[in-house]
Amino acid sequence: MNGGTGKTAAEKVLSEKSGSDARSDTIVIASVDYLMASDTTAPMAIEAFSAMGGERVFDASKIAFVIDHASPPPNQTIANLHIMMRSFAARQGIRLYEAGEGICHQLLLESGALSEGDLVLGADSHTCTYGALGVMAAGVGSTDLAAAMLTGRSWFKVPRTMKIILEGILPNVSSAKDIVLALIGKLGCDGATYRSVEFHGKTLDALSFSDKATIANMVSEMGGKNCFICDSSASVVSDSNAVFEEVVVVDVSNIRPMLACPHSVDNVLPVSELAGKRIDQVFLGSCTNGRLEDLRVAASILRGRRVAPGIRFYVNPASQKVFLQALEEGILQTLAEAGAVFLPPGCGPCVGTHNGIPGDGEVVVSTTNRNFRGRMGNNKALIYLASPATAAASALMGEITDPGTLEGASCC
């Protein structure tokens, strides 16, 4: 893959951070700019850090811990793991985001701590979300994170790059989530394994930052290592003579609202094919679709209406900031009047820790990123992944509903 003289965005970042000529398929050791761990991964990372002989982290100002996966804690074991995180963070001078402040990826997008061209590791698989900022960000496990906290470095296999070009104008009932679900349906859940995934094309310039974060977030679900959103404002982009392993062109003008059906994210069908299927619960939130724009879309569909009888509609703003903005805009009132129940910002419902675990045989429409068997905490539940518009329309009707079929649909 090293025939071209140009470099991909990933090769550029890894060359700069390793001080070498990083080319795909080679191994480099590179300096990291920022590290993140959550309450699922930080406790094991702290143990590994100590076992490595670690005393001080390489640079406390470049590390964040976030209590979000089980927040607030559902039991005493987890409450004690949170104490362990707080105590380590205080001793080292690491920034710790408390339970309820928000979901790690949303907090880091909001934090201002990340800059374009940075190399970031997060002990969470959706760390690739920061590709929306032009950051090369990859998910790792606890032990890799511990080694990076100690040394400020990590080893990287320089990824090959998949270039995805988005063309055309998205229909107004469809959203960035529908684009990325359609793409995962086409590529498969291992279609981009170990690849750096670059998004290009004119469509990007019509999308909001929130939309770009949704797309970057779901790169994990096609197996990608990291993502770069190369819109017209991006400066970390591949050279014109860089070598791409694969180029995929997507015409978004044909993309309808989509669903990922149980139990795999690449089991994707148009919403219209399942329209009318009875549902029990709707979840709006997560690092994928819990931003202000997502809540706004749901509010626009549900304003002055009420969700169908018997439907549980849980809404989880991705951060306190999102919560406050939604409060200011009146979105929270609109959603509450429509029957929404608000959950504290966090990952619990998506990852099945707590707050809204479905019952046996129940059908959930969720704006999250995974629908694996047992994902929401019950292996007998059926999870359909969808956009915020499809989720809100389905909550309203009590059955899977294409938002484009609602009367006066102008939602998105």
């Binding site: 590994a48 490595m52 032990t143 990590s154 197996g223 099945g352 047992g374």
Partner: protein, 166 residues
Amino acid sequence: MLLTGKVLKYGDNINTDVIIPGKYTKTLDLNILTTHVMEDLDPFFRRKLRPGDFVVAGRNFGCGSSREQAPVALKHAGVSCIAAISFARIFYRNAVNIGLPLIECDTSLIDEGDILEYSLGGSQLRNITRNSILTLIPLPQIMIEILKEGGLVPFIRSRKGYTVQS
């Protein structure tokens, strides 16, 4: 190190949520992880598994979450090695980092119950039951070195950092 064990075989896209559900991951107690390992995929996994056994699967083993609890639970339950056609990238790193060997090869020729033999770092997998040899896609050198140290913790502890360029 020579690894020998019987095969427990599964399919494609075995994700980390079925290896260890998210609701059980918030713990440092390895016995809790071991108790629930693979239960959503195969409730009899623990009963079938003997120490040293190989888990063999199809494509994209370990996709999904970055939870290191997944390879930890498999290793602590007694799995000595995982062979698959391909692995998801975070699981791949995590397994090596905790000292659980992985093999990438064409697993379609391996069946449930076969006895396999693998010398750590070697380029071949021997199927004793079928008297056949499978060629492996080799691990990067740094991963072989991490595995030979027993994982990334002993690797970093003994070398005081990343001292290997490969």
